[in-house]
């Protein structure tokens, strides 16, 4: 291939050209806008170089919302393509690229940053800490993630997108069958983002183990912090597998090694196995924090302590262990024999037990509670039945013999969306609505919020229940079109309508944000929901240092007890507070990583070597750097505190 040919999109279409123009114009508008309003300096000082966990969290949130829409557009395109037989809206190659990027974007660049946003924003506040253990590493994590995301997203305008599915199975993902640079993007962009995630894992385990407020024993931690802790432990154990896997995949594609080829001894099933050794725990990295959020929300709005705290923790620990022993349920039909199938079948089904424990705990919390139907609570109430349905079909899939019927059909697609959407996406929207006032100082409109939740659920049911039916009838997944005679068309049309309703729901969410920015009252106090844990005990907006005085904890809901039972949270005098300095290094280093990734994807070796040296130079610079942070003086804190207190009344 000629040098410049590689940068061209292999199968361009009108849609791709249109989005190129769209992206170009948006970028231009952003650059012009920032310059016009003279915001470059502000951006650099307050955001790009920030090491504040709250701001880093917000940047994760923005990325996640952005990707939610990017992935959502992909989804609508797919559903539209399948809504009628013999549709020619997308051709096969384009369809392949769309479902591949949809999967990657949704799991890795939407759901992951969304939960990491919650880790970042909430964990330090919930445990009464000033920041995370390694603030600068945290910034690096974010920027690496961000650059990985950026790299992945330029794939469809430079060189072509990955087209072998989000699982990227070999030999399909090898050079022979995926000829464009698309899969190189997959290997390298995910690698860069994944390194960032791994560091997040290390950072938060350390934070949670070492930086809890006095009195907060492990068994007194808020449930979300527990779920974050366990999810981060899974990250530290699962992500290195992905690192190695992607490195080997990269070598196969770029250097002609034979890890996963079908000749010279290569073994394609090694990819499948290792992928799911990471991939299955990955889904629990997403779902456990979601469970944590539901626990916070349900106990807040049932006005009751969470039922069965200890069993909640225990079930999460059990789930995290089991999650590493079920990976082969993703390929029951690929020839591993009945014994292995049976073992993985049983371990898979076993996960339903601790999950069931959690469902019952939430139900018992609701049982005697005084339930208040706010938007976050509405999401949680919709979550319970819908997620249970997904769990039931999960157990159906876990029956290895029966899986021969529905493996790689729409039934599977329906199942995992049924757990991921009511499980993870609802939790994120519920959590976002719940924490919005803490983060931004005003509430989202409740009426619009409830409309969103209901529309989303109606859309969800219409979009995904039909897939169970066509799946059982044999509609394969990842099939770009079908003939009239299959009889799938009616159901697929319903499904498209459902997807469109979901799109409307998301549009309503955007409108809600816009509406609330304009019209929501601003004097809502620090604790608008009458909540229970420490993050609500500080001011809104949260000052840089979180808590002027480190809180003293005696129970699992310290803030609630301080309000109702006279427990004193803040004892003692204000002292000067040590804070880390901002730094541009994480951003600069990640930018170099971006260029390095790009050079690798297109095999531009000289550039790759130069940037690699650049990365090492950054590390060396960091090693010699002396930076002991700074202190916020007592006067400054007192001033901030009175200002924030004054703003409230």
């Amino acid at each position: 291939m000629d040098f410049f040919d590689r940068f061209a999109v292999p199968h361009p279409s009108f849609l791709i050209y249109a989005s190129m123009v769209g992206i170009g114009l948006t970028m231009l508008a952003i650059v012009v806008g920032i310059t016009y309003f003279k915001k470059w300096g502000y951006l650099w000082r307050e955001w790009i170089t920030t090491v504040d966990h709250k701001r880093i969290g917000i940047m994760y949130l923005l990325s996640a919302l952005l990707m939610l829409f990017r992935g959502g557009v992909d989804a609508i395109m797919m559903r539209y393509q399948l809504s009628m037989p013999e549709n020619t809206f997308l051709d096969s190659q384009h369809y392949n690229e769309v479902f591949s990027t949809h999967g990657v974007v949704m799991i890795l660049f939407m759901a992951m940053p969304f939960i990491i946003f919650f880790f970042n924003y909430l964990v330090p506040l919930q445990i009464g800490a000033r920041d995370v253990a390694f603030p600068r590493l945290n910034a690096l994590s974010f920027w690496l993630f961000f650059m990985g995301m950026g790299l992945f997203n330029i794939s469809f305008i430079v060189g072509g997108s990955p087209d072998a599915g989000w699982t990227s199975y070999f030999p399909l993902a090898g050079n022979e069958f995926s000829t464009s640079v698309g899969t190189n993007y997959y290997m390298i962009a995910i690698q860069i983002a994944g390194i960032g995630t791994l560091m997040t894992g290390i950072n938060f385990i350390t934070t949670i183990l070492k930086m809890r407020a006095p009195g907060m024993k492990l068994m007194k931690m808020p449930m979300f912090t527990w779920s974050a802790f366990i999810a981060n432990v899974i990250i530290v154990f699962a992500f290195p597998v992905l690192t190695v896997l992607l490195a080997m995949g990269t070598m196969d594609r770029l250097f002609g090694t034979n890890f996963f080829t079908t000749d010279n001894g290569g073994m394609d099933m090694l990819w499948a196995n290792l992928f799911w050794v990471w991939g299955h725990p990955e889904v629990y990295i997403l779902i456990l924090p979601a469970f944590g959020l539901y626990s916070e929300i349900i106990s807040t709005f049932a006005r009751r302590n969470l039922y069965g705290y200890k069993s909640m923790v225990a079930s999460m620990v059990v789930i995290s262990l089991l999650s590493f022993f079920v990976w082969a349920h993703h390929f029951f039909t690929m020839g591993q024999g009945p014994l292995a199938n049976s073992i993985f079948s049983i371990t898979t089904m076993a996960i339903a037990v601790p999950t069931g424990v959690k469902i019952f705990n939430w139900l018992f919390t609701l049982w005697k509670g005084k339930i208040e139907f706010t938007t976050p609570m509405l999401y949680s109430m919709l979550f319970i039945p819908l997620f249970t349905l997904g769990g039931v079909t999960g157990v159906m899939l876990a029956m290895s013999a029966a899986d021969y019927q529905y493996h790689n059909t729409m039934f599977l697609v329906a199942h995992f969306h049924n757990v991921i959407i009511p499980g993870v996406v609802y939790a994120m929207l519920a959590g976002l609505t719940f924490y919005w006032p803490k983060i931004f100082g005003f509430m989202l409109n409740e009426r619009l919020g409830k409309w969103t939740a209901w529309l989303l659920s109606v859309g969800f049911v219409l979009a995904f229940i039909p897939m169970y039916i066509t799946g059982l009838d044999g509609q394969a997944r990842r099939m770009y079109t079908y003939s009239e005679s299959t009889g799938f068309s009616a159901m697929n049309m319903v499904s498209f309508i459902g997807a469109a309703i979901m799109a409307i729901a998301f549009a309503l969410l955007v409108y809600n944000i816009y509406y609330s920015i304009r019209y929501s009252p601003r004097n809502i106090g620090n604790d608008p929901w009458d909540a229970r844990s420490l993050e609500w005990a500080t001011h809104t907006p949260v000052p840089e240092y979180n808590f002027a005085i480190t809180p003293q904890v005696e129970s699992t809901q310290p803030f609630w007890d301080s309000k109702k039972n006279g427990h004193e949270l803040f004892k003692g005098e204000i002292e000067k507070i040590h804070m880390p300095n901002n730094s541009g290094l994480p951003f600069i280093m990640s930018c170099i990583f971006f260029v390095f990734g790009f050079a690798m994807i297109f095999s531009i070796w000289p550039l790759a070597i130069i940037t690699l040296i650049g990365i090492l130079a950054c590390l060396a610079y960091r090693s010699f750097e002396k930076d002991h942070g700074r202190y916020i003086s007592v006067e400054e804190i007192k001033e901030t505190e009175t200002r924030l207190r004054g703003a409230k009344k």
Binding site: A133, T206, K210, V236, P240, T243, M248, M251, N258, F624
Partner: protein, 198 residues
């Protein structure tokens, strides 16, 4: 920065404690990384295609030399930390230097070994087995290389800044890393080389 003088220098500040725990967790991740590499290696060990097998290409002499060099360096970095605890700057630096020289020598032999493999027709692209072998060894070698420069930078800092809580903390963490690489090597030695030669 509050310094608690009742503790060893490397543990004497809050930040230092965090860093040491963080590093242990990082080692946990590294264990998973190497475990995955070993898994891939054992899966592909006999899938040699048209290429040579392990028994065909492994040679005991360079491997033994490498092992001795690395094991000794792990010992000398231990001595460096011991000297550091006794607050002996010169001795600390001395043992650091010895460690780094041994590390560099290890790398030298490993590079010789790799060129030898390529020479006898066991390059990266030859077969799944050679790819897994060279990747596993290469990842370890890369770690040693990075460790070499990291250690060098710490050495320079000790020279310039003396034994402060900061440099002590860095040296201690470096020693953990170096010991870890040694342990990985023992696995490579036993389960790749010795097993492969039998």
């Amino acid at each position: 920065m509050k310094v608690d003088n009742s503790l060893p220098l490397e543990y004497s500040t809050e930040e230092n404690n965090l860093k040491i725990l963080g590093f242990w967790i990082f080692i946990g991740a590294e264990i998973m990384l190497f475990a995955t590499l070993f898994t891939a290696y054992f899966t592909l060990e006999n899938r040699t295609g048209n290429g040579p097998t392990g028994a065909d290409i492994f040679e005991i002499t360079p491997v033994l030399i490498e092992t001795i060099l690395l094991l000794t360096s792990s010992f000398t970095i231990g001595l460096a930390i011991h000297a550091m605890r006794l607050n002996k700057k010169k001795a600390t630096m001395g043992f650091f230097i010895v460690t780094l020289i041994l590390g560099a020598a290890f790398l030298g032999v490993e590079i010789y070994e790799f060129t030898h493999y390529v020479h006898v027709g066991a390059g990266l692209q030859t077969s799944a087995f050679t790819a897994a072998l060279l990747t596993t060894l290469g990842t370890h070698g890369l770690h040693v290389t990075l460790g070499f420069f990291w250690g060098l930078f710490i050495l320079i800092q000790i020279k310039k800044r003396g034994l402060t809580p900061e440099t002590a903390n860095k040296s201690f963490i470096f020693s953990l890393y170096w010991h870890f690489l040694d342990i990985i090597w023992i696995f490579i030695f036993s389960f790749i080389y010795l097993k492969g030669m039998m």
